[in-house]
């Protein structure tokens, strides 16, 4: 069993040993075991140990988008760059990955205003389970995975004004640093 495990140890506990199911419950024999389902999906190193967006994009799973036929399925393509003045790498929020799973109304307007720049995002609030932390840290990848959101390198070259500009690196340095 160990020999066929991936490089990292995925540790899905059997239901009767997970500490929350009652081992005496008749459900233990009837319910699907997490390891049976999750071990077949694109592996990850945190959360459910599954790359859920990859699983969707690669067709490993095809979860239903709606129950009612009249429900409008809304998917938005477009990234938002955030935290443009902080010290961490810039946050790239991908609308597409989120709207594949969620509807616009799950976040807008009660959690986040649609207007760019109108939201005061706080890492402390997120760590307390607010804003992004409503899902990240509970069901979607956990807050230990900093670089998945803080994913865009900050341009260290500051213009004369002193403001940081989230522009892509200028061509000559990028070409010089490109892998051979």
């Amino acid at each position: 069993m160990l020999a066929c495990s991936p490089a990292f140890a995925a540790n899905w506990l059997p239901l009767d040993q997970d500490g929350i199911h009652d081992p005496k419950s008749p459900a233990i024999r009837a319910l699907q075991q997490p390891g049976d389902a999750l071990s077949k999906l694109p592996p990850d190193t945190a959360g459910n140990m599954v790359r859920w967006v990859d699983a969707l994009e690669k067709g490993a799973i095809n979860p239903r988008t709606n129950i009612r036929p009249e429900t409008k399925i809304r998917v938005l393509d477009g990234d938002i760059l955030m935290n443009l003045k902080g010290g961490m790498p810039i946050v790239r929020f991908p609308h597409r990955a989120h709207t594949l799973w969620l509807d616009c109304s799950n976040c807008h307007e009660h959690l986040f205003k649609s207007k760019t720049g109108a939201n005061k995002i706080s890492m402390l609030a997120i760590l307390e389970g607010e804003q992004c932390g409503l899902c990240h840290g509970a069901v979607s990848f956990p807050l230990t995975e900093c670089s998945r959101c803080h994913s865009v390198a900050r341009n260290v070259q500051r213009p004369a004004s002193g403001a940081l500009v989230p522009a892509p690196p200028p061509a000559p340095p990028a070409a010089a640093g490109a892998p051979k």
Partner: protein, 126 residues
């Protein structure tokens, strides 16, 4: 003095074991608003199982489940009437509300909340 130190150390170890034992899978929700007092096991809702089959938007948009864990007040009568879980748990899409034990499968006395390893605090407010 030494006895008290031993007792204290023992309590710490016991707390660590207890804290570590109620783990569940990442995103498991224990719902025990009324189960214990009604003499039923608490409900365990596994996000992992459902998201393989349904996108978040089905339950959190169409069915009206609020995003914050603990913010949803779901009664068995609602489910039997086809609302919330009852939209699918109707013996058509999934097992019906007569299969009590399949959802009410948690350890008695387990507090409501989001469970699961590899997690940070998550939605902390109930």
């Amino acid at each position: 003095m030494r006895m008290w130190t031993s007792i204290l150390a023992g309590c710490c170890v016991a707390m660590l074991i207890l804290a570590g034992s109620a783990q569940g899978e990442y995103g498991d929700v224990v719902i025990n608003k009324r189960s214990d007092q009604e003499g039923m096991r608490p409900v365990i809702f596994p996000h992992w199982f459902h998201r393989i089959r349904f996108r978040c938007k089905v339950c959190h948009h169409e069915l009206g489940f609020k995003m914050r864990a603990g913010a949803n007040d779901v009664l068995m009568t609602d489910i039997i009437d086809g609302k919330f879980c009852g939209m699918c748990h109707n013996n058509d899409v999934a097992w019906g509300p007569d299969r009590c034990d399949l959802c009410h499968s948690g350890k008695p006395g387990l507090p409501s909340g989001i469970y699961g390893g590899h997690s940070t605090t998550g939605p902390g407010r109930w």
